[in-house]
Symmetry: C2
Subunit: 348 residues, 2 copies
């Protein structure tokens, strides 16, 4: 695996379009040119018109800055979630890293399968097995230690299919959209089923979203004094699942506003979009459809796409989107460019 030093070099060199894009978009005068990775068409038009109507003081739809809250799912909405959630890759790597201290894992499921690289076997135990892996790999250390473990891991982690760094598989058009909204006085939040403490260490670098604007699932923590110093220990107990019905609950708990715009890509985001788009005044709901096998992955099963157990976008959700006036973003048709790499084949 590449070293932390390599990550530092990579970050310093500024070779990643992403970093400079965030800086440029965050500070420059805002205009729709910021959405340069979006193709002209109804989706981009809807975004630009929504932002115009909510930020123009003369508009009947004007929304004061404090109420301009936009929420974004993470997995499959801001970065790739195939062939499986990045956090699951992290958990499996942690099992391997911790294995020398757990000789019993060589014969004990689900750990034995993880160590053999047999992911199907590891997941055969269903949710219970996955929860056991999560609790074993995500608890037992302080929050400061966990943050460092995540930072170290993410700096070298690669997608098992594309072999690209996972941090280079964020979606360039969504990074632009986040910056575009912020440039128009919006507060942007991540609201993910993923772990809140797994996302915070890198979300600001990747998306320009600071830790206090990340909402996610969590385990319990406990305050302790060690040698007079205060710290929080991560406990192997679930605290909150920020998915499906949990998303509006998490939004209310952390943000305290009903969002006026929400972006997702799967059935886990349905309630967040229902909550965001049924308040009074102007509302925007958008779902990203992964219909681009060439540049990323194609899965649904909505719209006749292949079924997926990761990030499922059902036909029922697709139908609800049409009925409620949510926009479906077609990765294939709406995006000029998918990832922030300059190696991208697509014209800009």
């Amino acid at each position: 695996m590449p070293s932390v030093r390599l990550f530092r070099q990579w970050a310093r060199a500024g070779s990643l379009v992403l970093c400079s894009a965030i800086l440029a978009f965050g500070t420059a005068q805002a205009s729709e040119d910021h959405l340069r990775s979006w193709k002209d068409g109804p989706t981009k038009k809807a975004i630009v018109e929504f932002v115009k109507t909510t930020t123009d003081k003369a508009s009947p739809n004007f929304v004061p800055p404090g109420e301009r809250v936009a929420t974004f799912d993470n997995d499959g909405t801001l970065w790739s979630e195939q062939p499986m959630y990045v956090q699951a890759l992290f958990a499996f790597d942690r099992v391997k890293a911790l294995a020398p201290q757990h000789p019993e894992w060589r014969t004990q499921e689900p750990f034995a399968s993880v160590l053999k690289g047999d992911l199907k076997g590891a997941l055969a135990g269903g949710e219970k097995a996955l929860l056991e892996i999560m609790m074993t790999t995500h608890a037992g250390m302080t929050t400061d230690e966990f943050q460092q473990i995540v930072k170290d891991w993410i700096s070298t982690a690669r997608n098992p299919v594309t072999k690209r760094p996972v941090l280079e598989m964020v979606y360039q058009p969504m990074v632009e959209l986040l910056a575009y909204l912020r440039a128009h006085g919006y507060k942007t939040f991540i609201v993910s089923g993923g772990g809140i403490e797994f996302m915070r260490p890198w979300a600001e670098q990747a998306y320009g979203v600071p830790p206090e604007q990340v909402v996610g699932s969590s385990i319990r923590t406990k305050f302790e004094l060690r040698d007079g110093k205060g710290l929080l220990v991560r406990l192997p107990e679930l605290n909150f699942i920020d998915d499906r019905e949990g998303k509006p609950v998490g939004i209310n708990q952390h943000i305290g506003h009903r969002p006026i715009a929400a972006f997702g890509n799967s059935d886990g985001d349905r309630q967040m979009l229902e909550y965001a788009t049924t308040g009074s005044g102007p509302r925007l709901g958008m779902l990203l459809l992964h219909d681009d096998a060439e540049r990323e992955f194609a899965y649904g099963p909505a719209n006749g796409l292949p079924d997926s157990h990761v990030g499922t976008f059902t036909q029922a959700l697709y139908d609800e989107a049409k009925q409620r006036g949510w926009f479906v973003i077609s990765m294939r048709d709406d995006w000029k460019q998918v990832f922030p790499s300059s190696k991208e084949q697509t014209a800009r």
Copy 2:
């Protein structure tokens, strides 16, 4: 009771120093003149020097803006908590408002005592009785409805001893301190044992702290669709107690940073200050001592002051403050002015 209309007039008229102070301080060039209600002395000096050393790029103690996180307790730190917590007054008023729908309360404790105005009797049942009052008055409605109930109530609520509006019993020096920190790139958060949804409807007006920067205790909520519209129903079940050991936990959950400065006034804030002040780099911890019977209230029992069951500041906490280098703010000696009213006797 005064009407909502009166509140609107009062808010519009701008007669409240508070509102204009927030606006002025939030936008003006930052300088220590902002702390005009603070007397010159070691406490004010410590604040100004801490802000200087953490925001001067040439200083070895420079802290980047994203890490400039300051947390404030609410009751007894930002506004008066005597003769009892404002939220308890709210709960008792709600019992009275709901009584016509609950004829059984006339004979059922703790409600019967509340309805007779016998607060000692109401609290005779201890925590269990208080919890019953809270759940009955704080649950059963939607979050939107509860927000409106709080807004309506707080616009007319008065302190039972001073008869002043509770919103005019915020501490002017602390409002100035919040604005002073924000003007220097700090993010200011409220971290209170009080209810998160009780504070959010007025915290921005009173302190310049938006809903997403308020952390507090909470009950559970549940997402529902009613006639196709998404809403959250407040359930009579505790979710989280943001007090004592809970404060660092709440800070980590909501903010995801260890604060570099923390402000409190009672034993409930001990762990928050321990957590904030034992990280690496520059740290500031301050506790407000209510030693001013003339202008507000005097209670401890620290420093020989009268004992109080509301907002207890024990001698043990006082001793820990001295040992850890936390500053104790003397309301009597450090503040020129306590409340934002122009009626204040004290010279400015």
